[in-house]
Subunit: 328 residues, 2 copies
């Protein structure tokens, strides 16, 4: 099986590639070939037996998508996007990369059938940003698409295109609305959501973290490990039971900031939690307080998608995957 | 005020232009200039005092939209689209006209602000086709977008773009999901929905009509007069109360085919209803049985949008507007 990851140099893309290289398969199917694509050069896993090809390409030019799809991958993970704040700051670039790039990809796939029949599986990462206030405490499956950002609009349009191309059997698509990733590895960043990971990640290594919002604030999380697991599960299962509705809210953990901190205390002790400094930031609060608190995710669960059962598990996953399995 | 109608040669476009030409205003605002645009030459109303310009243009080329918007219309009615069956039959043409054409228009509007500030009101006709089964008997406002056709997908994407461009204040937009128009004037056509008008229109002039579906089938209707009224109302009101959700399900009449026929009997007598011949057609039934039965349309009603109160009123509107006010 030939697998392509577009957006392979990103945090999730790298972890996904590493998992596939380690497993040599997705479910029962052997992966013989892996094509890693990104706008910055992706890195091959030299320890893996899988034949890997690294391609530096920008999907937002039509020719690029066509060249990529000429290799007729059986499974395509489309993770490439510019992030929410960038898409809002640069209107044209956001539409070019997140909308046109996705459409060029789907069009290149459709045109491969001009040569001989072709209908690859396409796993598209969508986002909670397709939803907008007012929101219920628990968002049901099939809730109204009402994005309040360019990024959310572009992802919602990508979902609609994916569903229509799937209905017409040009591809066999699924859109996964990933929970907010926690604990995101790496350094603190300026994303409005950054503190959700920072208040766990930094104290675990003895560093201070800033909490800009009240402890009552609730949000929806999954570990990087769960996100990769969901992508692989989507590649493995039969998508026919989805019918025409190809977008799924994934399972996750609903936790308040206070519950995050209590989980940190259980895992790493009081000393860790004292490293969290409360520095209220109205601008960050305004952004994140409009975000979803929880999802029912019933359809995804019935299709076998899983996430952690608690914030404690999410923290343990981070310790295992990023800190060598134990606290220093 | 400069008003532009894109799709001015269509059935609703013509009626809208005629109404504006007769009223010389929309609400309290005088219309001094009317630009009529379509891919086939629109016709000016020579009896009107309004300065009219007829433009033959295809919105699906970027340059066309730019030239149209150079005239900086204050209100733009965007009615242009290729219909559902054509969009399904010719995948590329459907996306080119219904998606790219709409996007080129919005982009041309956005770029007018490069010259000097510009934020026209844009009234976009959307469709019930943005919804797909399973559907409740009465569809609430803010129901999930789940189209089951290329046309519905293209309209849903147009709605999302309109909302995002409105949020960013590039334009002040509203999308109206029109009920199925009944009674559509003119000759019988091959649209799956054609019989809904045909079973009223033909018997009223003493001609036979074919009914291809059972009398229990229920659907959602408004007269051409109501549709034009809704477009003008949208142009007249302040759109700020819509907030970020710029798409409205319009009020209409929910009627079964049997109720349509009983209304025809009340208006035109038994003789008219005997002209309806039942010729079951499984293909037509399969298409129309997945269509919405009714909408709550609460947001639209609260904003002052109106439709007929009954099928009887819809039939009377047809007699007044198309048959000179009385049966022959």
């Amino acid at each position: 099986m030939h697998v392509m990851i577009i957006g392979a140099a990103g945090m999730i893309g790298k972890k996904l590639a590493r998992q596939i290289c380690g497993d040599h398969s997705i479910g029962a199917k052997i992966v013989s070939r892996l094509t890693l694509v990104d706008v910055v050069a992706p890195q091959a896993d030299t320890s893996s037996k899988i034949e890997q090809m690294c391609v530096t390409a920008d999907l937002s030019t039509y020719g690029a998508a066509k060249r990529l799809i000429a290799g007729r991958p059986d499974v395509i993970f489309h993770l490439a996007a510019i992030v929410s704040s960038d898409a809002e700051a640069d209107f044209e670039k956001g539409y070019l990369i997140n909308l046109d790039g996705t459409r060029y990809l789907f069009e290149a796939i459709r045109h491969q059938s001009d040569i001989e029949p072709y209908c690859p599986k396409v796993i598209f990462t969508s986002s909670l940003a397709v939803f907008g206030v007012p929101l219920p405490d628990e968002i049901p499956d099939d809730f109204v698409l009402a994005p309040l950002s360019c990024y959310g609009t572009q992802k919602a349009i990508g979902e609609l295109l994916l569903a229509d191309y799937s209905r017409r059997r040009f591809l066999d698509g699924i859109a996964l609305r990933l929970p907010t990733i926690c604990v995101r590895p790496g350094k603190p960043n300026k994303a409005a959501s950054g503190f959700y990971s920072s208040i766990i990640r930094e104290p675990l290594i003895g560093e201070e973290a800033v909490l800009p919002v009240p402890r009552e604030l609730r949000h929806w999380f999954a570990s990087p490990r769960s996100a990769v697991g969901a992508l692989l599960h989507a590649a493995e299962i039969d998508l026919a039971p989805l019918g025409a509705r190809r977008s799924l809210n994934l399972p996750g953990v609903s936790a308040s900031v206070g519950e995050q901190i209590e989980a940190l205390r259980r895992v790493a002790g009081n000393k860790a939690t004292t490293l969290i400094k409360e520095v209220p930031d109205a601008a960050i609060l305004r952004i994140v307080s409009s975000w979803p608190k929880a999802f029912s995710a019933e359809r995804a669960k019935s299709l076998g998608f899983k996430a952690e059962a608690s914030m404690d598990e999410i923290i343990h996953a981070h310790i295992e995957d990023e800190l060598g399995g134990a606290l220093g």
